[in-house]
Symmetry: C2
Subunit: 198 residues, 2 copies
């Protein structure tokens, strides 16, 4: 999601591909741990500091490179953007990331991930029905959309049926039509394995 | 953590106790779901809107009631505060909350929770060693501290050995000496069961 943020804000960047499964997980290397002790992507080196955690990165970019905005002007709308973002980043994503799925065991992974995503999407669909316009909150792309698109990509990966989530699906479709979301899609990264490319 | 935020900012509030285990979990009631579709505490009704998700609540309070500050003035320090907050709110808390532990099954709960907390605390201790002063980031109480204190209370509950985390332990001790953290401690809430009271 931070790649879309960088793209939307026209910030030049260099990516360092970290293969989460190769060599037992390159995120466990000493070099990457020095950058991000959490042993999870992403980490951004910028302005002489290193920031881990996607939302902290986006909030920093927003405060230091405010144009174009990724948070609305109105505090109540900003609260909605952050509520949707946190719901995804804290309520769904961590429950179906690689290290948790490893712990759950191979035979339970799919059910576990689907359960985490559908339970989160049930709540999200209900919230979005009152906050969404063309995008998650109103008609402007925000941090919430940067969270939504990769989460829907994950739902696809885990074969979650999206029929019960018309608002989520509709917003995701609008997002994928945008250049910044197109270039940052997980299937189009320099380190995407050939079988996942689109 | 939002109770400490309300206390620090001197905002009057009324709490509605939601018992997560009584009646099969009161967070699943129709009334509470209308307030917070995620079926998780907390939700705050304020200024005519309802905000779910702890960090979204604190950011809103900060933007609308800026004194006393819960985010530093310097954008780089703010990034550190948010990184620590997100690490706890996305990287630790969701992995050891009630609904996940239910899924994991009674006999695995303790090991699972301890693993989630120690893995997060290993990263957190390393980050705090470079950001902390008296509190998580420098010498002023921030949103990061509001995340830290309840997470250490959870670590205690799950009998995590805190010896490897001297910085976390030291900060937590400083926090518990503050009135706002004292009144908002999980063991002192109106709905705390008698056996957990202190």
């Amino acid at each position: 999601m931070r790649l879309a943020a960088l793209a939307l804000k026209n910030i030049d960047y260099e990516t360092v591909a970290i293969n989460l499964t190769k060599d037992g997980g390159q995120q466990f290397s000493g070099e990457f741990q020095a950058l991000n002790p959490m042993k999870q992507v992403p980490a951004l080196k910028i302005d002489g500091i290193t920031i881990g955690q996607s939302l902290a990165i986006i909030e920093y970019l927003e405060e230091t490179r405010p144009t174009p905005r990724l948070l609305p002007w109105d505090p109540k709308k900003r609260a909605q953007v952050r509520m949707v973002s946190d719901l995804i980043a804290s309520g769904i994503q961590p429950l179906q990331n690689l290290s948790v799925l490893k712990q759950v065991g191979q035979e339970n992974q799919l059910t576990w991930a689907q359960q985490a995503i559908t339970s989160g999407f049930n709540a999200l669909e209900q919230i979005l029905q009152s906050t969404a316009g063309r995008y998650c909150v109103g008609d402007e792309v925000s941090m919430a959309d940067l969270c939504l698109a990769p989460q829907v990509a994950n739902a696809d990966r885990f074969k979650v049926d999206l029929t019960p989530y018309p608002t989520i699906s509709r917003i995701n479709k609008s997002l994928l039509a945008l250049e910044a979301f197109h270039v940052s899609h997980p299937c189009r990264q320099p380190d995407t394995p050939p079988e996942l490319r689109a």
